[in-house]
């Protein structure tokens, strides 16, 4: 990484660490949410920005992981050290099953993931004897980390930050790796990839499972943050909003999904304080992003930087 990039990361890290010192618990909580949904958006973006497939079922992995952890802890008293990995496993396993969707491309893939995600929502909603139906699962305890109970906004925020730092470091290597390049190759020209010797279906399958794992991780963090989960967590709007966040922030980048999450949740938080038409506003944001900012914040920043650089070199 260049010196510039190290400095950038340093600044970001310092800012992130400083948040709870300057923000109250409400804002710290909001930023924690932004990080969690940013991770969900990152999960979606592995498929979208790298492999070129738009999945709208990732809320299913998110939700199943959350429910698994919640039910184990609340109803069976299982400690977090077991419940959290179990949640991760359940969500990822669902990802392995739903990965059959990679037998399709383009529109078919979108439609199938939409339907698959809906099935999970429907099961969570109807199987109320197990899932609690609309009421969901409540009173999920915060995990205890080597004696430290993470029940303040500040402590939980730092916990999420640490988890994210590890995940992002790994994700960065993943997308820069040969495997990461194969995904971008598939997106650029799948026919050329098969001609070059790649079994593209296998690569997409693995990518999908990894992306389901990341979504599951977001789900586990979410259920600990929220201390509650219900079928809304598996709903289509959650999935498609994750897609929008990735695009708004800049698809194909590492920071993009988090920037998008910040912009989206920040906007929704702000707007909901004075307008009743929440969903309509979200809808307009979708439309506006697609029409006027499809490259997102990172794309815009890159273009500005490139222009500056080429402007500077002509002087």
């Amino acid at each position: 990484m260049s010196r510039q990039q190290w400095i950038g990361i340093g600044v970001l890290a310092l800012a992130a660490l400083a948040v709870p010192q300057f923000a109250g618990s409400y804002w710290t909580g909001l930023i924690t949410q932004i990080l969690i949904f940013g991770l969900l958006a990152l999960a979606v973006d592995l498929m979208l920005g790298h492999a070129g497939l738009m999945s709208v079922c990732h809320a299913a992995f998110f939700s199943v992981a959350a429910y698994t952890t919640a039910i184990l802890q609340v109803r069976h008293g299982v400690p977090a050290i077991v419940a959290a990995p179990a949640g991760l496993f359940a969500g990822t396993l669902l990802g392995v099953i739903f990965a059959m969707a990679v037998r399709t491309r383009g529109v078919y893939f979108i439609l199938i993931t939409l339907a698959l995600g809906y099935v999970v929502w429907g099961v969570e909603y109807r199987w109320s004897s197990f899932t609690g139906g609309d009421n969901g699962v409540t009173n999920v305890p915060r995990p205890v980390l080597i004696g430290l109970k993470l029940d303040t906004a500040e402590h939980f925020y730092y916990f999420v930050l640490v988890v994210l730092a590890i995940v992002l470091a790994a994700y960065r290597v993943l997308v820069a790796s040969p495997f990461g390049l194969t995904l971008r190759g598939i997106k650029a020209s799948e026919s050329r990839m098969t001609s070059l010797g790649f079994a593209t279906a296998r690569h997409l399958f693995v990518a999908f499972v990894i992306s389901a794992f990341l979504a599951s991780l977001a789900g586990v963090l979410y259920v600990y943050y929220n201390r509650f989960v219900n079928p809304v967590s598996a709903s289509f709007p959650i999935s498609v909003e994750a897609v929008l966040m990735a695009i708004m922030g800049g698809s194909g980048t590492i920071l993009g999904p988090f920037i998008g999450s910040g912009v989206f949740l920040g906007l929704r938080n702000w707007v909901s304080s004075f307008i009743e038409f929440h969903a309509a506003v979200i809808g307009i944001v979708f439309i506006a992003t697609v029409l006027w900012a499809p490259e997102g914040v990172m794309g815009f920043a890159r273009r500005v930087l490139a222009r500056r650089r080429s402007g500077a070199s002509t002087r």
Binding site: M54, V56, M100, A101, R103, T104, R105, G106, V107, Y108, I110, L111, I112, L114, A115, L116, Y118, V119, W121, G122, V123, Y125, R126, W127, S128, S129, F130, F236, P237, V240, V243, L244, I247, E276, F277, H278, A279, A280, I282, G283, I284, V285, F286, I287, T289, V290, L291, P294
Partner: protein
């Protein structure tokens, strides 16, 4: 035994509605390569408009026409001002139409409220009919089956037996070629899009008389329609018919035998299709 027969009729009558909804979606994609995630919102708004018309005039047929036309107008505006910017980009189309669906759903919520509403069925279709085997079944749902069959036959005849249908089929097959033969492709698209919109709006009225209209209904019906076209194959009219039957029957029997898992039953045909024939029963290789 009677239970099974009852569920079969339930399934078939639901299939009739699903066909009405899915046929518009599949034609839209087949010819214009447009994926319209607001198709469910079209259904909902058509239904609500029809509801208001029935409340005001008591005339069900007028309601069907009004619901259909309202969506035709909406659809025209959407095509002209929104979808034209997305071109063939399915990702963009999806996000644009999802955004549109959010807006339409929210507007509908504020106009018609959050309660579950039902349209009043016309007098002559109220009550139940006696069927052989001591089965008493709501007349309206039987009429729905008849209506669905009639629409299916009309659509099929137009699609397979008329000049217009031939042009549409040619366009589905190769859009550039059709344009090259001098046929006004734009007008063709407007026509087919209007037809798809009308079907969506009309099915909202027809469906709203036995299923309820409520916030969220636009997504529920869309998902069913999507499973229908996934199973039947995108762009295929015959696929929409067969797919609707399969989904309708599976849904009815699923609800009867495994009420808590009925949504899971929808998953099964999709999984089978995906593993065996990803493009659907009648879908084209893409």
């Amino acid at each position: 035994m009677t239970g099974a027969v009852l569920q079969a009729i339930n399934g078939i009558s639901f299939a009739a509605l699903l066909f009405l909804v899915a046929s518009g979606f599949t034609l839209s994609f087949g010819l214009m390569r447009v994926v319209n995630m607001a198709h469910g919102a079209y259904y909902l708004i058509g239904g609500y408009v029809g509801l208001s018309v029935v409340r005001a005039t008591g005339n069900f047929w007028l309601a069907i026409a009004a619901g259909g036309i309202a969506v035709v107008l909406l659809g025209f505006l959407v095509d002209r001002f929104l979808l034209r910017h997305a071109g063939d980009n399915h990702l963009a189309q999806t996000l644009l139409t999802v955004g549109l669906a959010f807006v339409v759903g929210d507007v509908a919520l504020h106009i018609w409220g959050g309660d579950s509403l039902k349209l009043q069925v016309p007098m002559f279709l109220r009550g139940a009919t006696e069927l052989p085997g001591d089965i008493v079944y709501p007349t309206y749902r039987l009429a729905l089956v008849l209506f669905g069959v009639i629409v299916a036959i009309v659509l099929w005849l137009v699609y397979r037996k008329t000049q217009l249908g031939a042009v549409i089929r040619a366009g589905v097959d190769d859009r550039e070629m059709v344009a090259a033969t001098g046929i006004n492709v734009d007008r063709l698209f407007v026509l087919v899009s209007a037809l798809a919109s009308f079907l969506a709006g009309m099915s909202g009225v027809v469906g709203g008389a036995f299923l309820t209209l409520h916030p969220g209904a636009e997504w529920e019906i869309l998902v069913y329609a999507l499973v229908v076209v996934i199973v039947g194959g995108l762009g295929s009219l015959e696929g929409a018919m067969i797919g609707a039957l399969i989904v309708g029957l599976l849904d009815a029997f699923g609800r009867w035998l495994l009420p808590e898992f009925s949504y899971f039953v929808l998953f099964a045909p999709m999984a089978v299709l995906l593993l065996v024939r990803p493009r659907g029963l009648f879908g084209e290789a893409h």
